[in-house]
Symmetry: C2
Subunit: 402 residues, 2 copies
């Protein structure tokens, strides 16, 4: 039932403990749902209430602590022994008088962990300011230390099974993009394209189904293509507009993002020119990536390429990607940008999104890649250009040429 062999989970736990030792952490409280999944296999949409995985340096198994009604899923859906699953009653949920972190602090004290050096994921979405304040209040003898991204860094280099899951996610992304783009036409509604994208992202292929992506599809349209994180409306597409579609295929929580700009009808010359700069820069980056390069050097390649066309761009070229939950599929560890000296290693995986957002339009053409032993490979095989939805193609029977 678990997506990975128990040995793989145990290896991940061992690596996590090695990092804990390096950082001087005796007890690690994990609230990032992706990190909880990575170490235990736990996969449920229960992160909207407080929950955590507790890693104790000198104990062989993590503890899962969460809401009573979610405990059955933690017992059946992880490699943990049932007695390592501890639940709090429902009156702790969204309550002004009972906070789950007070309950968890009591458990830590009861099992003799109340006076230890405790790592917490300080900047994780699911570790709120109040969660931390409650732990500090109820564990006066503990010493807290920021362990944000500790496990995320362990996740950076993927195993072969993780890569295989990302290949499947890539296949799903390709198919969804093809099917979604087929619905982009004058008079078609944005929401219908979003629906079609989602359908194929979830239905996946005949061999394997899709999982929900950590971010919903973006499809900014027309003037809104300069606003990258807009979702959709029920407005209709117009001839002459461009749409920037950014999605991810997802398989067992592993993501492969893919973005393309679509032109409805013949695109403006400026759009094709800008797109050619993006593609040129992206191709140069893909040819250059090799283990041993730094992330900054990868970004420099992109910057130098577009600078030849007089374009300067501040935003990072890309970021590490893989296992995740809403609200982000990025891993928050390594970015392809100025100042990031991380050295590329085989089986690191990145979403390269060399978008250009100009004053009145934007172009997004992205690739998700794996660093190989000698270079890199993309997870998807999709035309690396502006996708033109031509009226001739849209209405083959009416004989009109746009």
């Amino acid at each position: 039932m678990l997506p990975f062999d128990i040995l793989e989970y145990q290896n991940r736990l061992t690596e996590t403990k090695q990092q804990m030792e390096v950082q001087g952490i005796e007890v690690l409280l994990i609230t990032d749902p992706a990190n909880m999944n990575y170490l235990s296999g736990y996969d449920a949409w229960s992160f909207y209430v407080h929950q955590m995985l507790v890693i104790i340096l000198d104990q062989p198994q993590p503890l899962w602590i969460g809401r009573h009604m979610d405990a059955a899923g933690a017992k059946s859906g992880t490699w943990l022994y049932d007695e390592n699953v501890i639940d709090y009653p429902d009156y702790y949920v969204h309550s002004q008088t009972h906070h789950p972190m007070a309950f968890i602090a009591d458990i830590l004290k009861q099992i003799g962990q109340g006076n230890r050096r405790i790592g917490v994921e300080m900047d994780n979405y699911y570790f709120t300011a109040k969660a931390f304040a409650q732990l500090v209040k109820h564990l006066p003898d503990a010493v807290f230390q920021d362990a944000d991204l500790l496990v995320n860094h362990v996740r950076l280099i993927k195993s072969d099974v993780e890569i295989e899951y990302m290949r499947r996610a890539g296949k799903i992304a390709e198919q969804a993009m093809t099917k979604g783009i087929a619905t982009v036409k004058p008079g078609g509604r944005q929401c219908d394209t979003a629906a079609e994208l989602y359908y194929h992202m979830l239905a996946g292929t005949d061999q394997y189904g899709g999982d929900y992506p950590a971010i919903v599809p973006f499809l900014p349209t027309g003037e809104n293509t300069v606003v990258p994180h807009l979702t959709w409306s029920d407005d209709s597409f117009q001839e002459g507009e461009t749409v920037s579609i950014e999605i991810a295929g997802c398989y067992k929580r592993y993501h492969v993002p893919l973005a393309r700009t679509v032109s409805i009808g013949k695109p403006d010359e400026k759009i094709l020119t800008t797109a050619s700069y993006v593609t040129e820069g992206l191709n140069e980056v893909l040819q250059k990536i090799t283990p041993g390069m730094t992330c900054e050097e990868v970004n420099d390649t992109w910057k130098q390429s577009i600078q030849r066309h007089g374009i300067i761009k501040e935003a990072r070229l890309g970021y590490s990607v893989g296992l995740n939950y809403p609200p982000d599929w990025g891993e928050h560890t390594v970015s392809l940008r100025n100042g990031d000296k991380t050295v590329l290693q085989p089986n690191m995986t990145f979403h390269l999104i060399p978008a250009l957002w100009l004053n009145h339009y934007g172009i997004e053409i992205s690739e998700t890649i794996r660093v190989t032993e000698t270079g890199c490979e993309t997870f998807t095989n999709y035309p690396r250009e502006v996708i033109i939805r031509d009226s001739v193609f849209l209405n083959p029977s009416d004989g009109k040429i746009s």
Copy 2:
């Protein structure tokens, strides 16, 4: 372009400021994306980076502060003046050296708000422990106060336009449930049902499209029906299994959740009996709800009903619902449960989810309601029973009777 009249936003802001005065708060820092939307109209999936809306008691408009690439959307998609939209550079994103809250603290100091009484949403997902620590560090002259749920409480009673949006969400929920259930059959894959549900949740109706729900569909199946927050796999449904489908229709971020248990083939007698207890209890609650009752009394009605059948249930009966973003469509303010003395008022809206999870199966039959002047009304009109997918119906041509 905004989904509400500017006057409605201004009224919401006025009510928020009244609450700020009651609580002695001069500056309110809002990080909950639903609260940001509620007061400004801002709607984008940019909450995976730090951002906020700043409400200053003695200034007429909020400030939006967020990432550079999202500022264009804040200018075009809110009622704020462009000069009230302030952005931070991209090197603040997922950086170990630059935190957006340090940037925001500097802005607050520059505009003379660094020494005021500042409210923060302490238990909001998007207000991390580190976000708070950074504000405290960089605003040494400020006094911080927990203002969690302050705006959520303002959201509790809906306007007529909000109710109309929820009616549309209800229509979308009904349609998606019908279409999704039609795909539940022996041999059908769970992921294909999830895909169909999503398709119709987003495509909506011919008159209005759907928006993404704050929670993905749950469809725990078979023995997993006791685990409420499981999503789906690519396993196939089996004859004799039950599936508990919980979805929400969503329109312009307003949610109407709906849950039904589906039986694939003739259900076990125990399932029908348990379902009859749920329906009976739910019907009693719906008949009894009236303005002036407390939330606790509503829950008591449900508890007394199931106790007649020897069932005792700890979890709350329901919670207030409306505008939201991932990871939750609940408003976190009012729950229908023991101890909640909130008095019902017209245009409060609740998701009643009187589920029963027993040892080997669970039944979920839910309704989302509006409290009216004299009682309550449901947003959806869907058979309040276990939905039976009969083999006769599934394979009308093969003449077999299950």
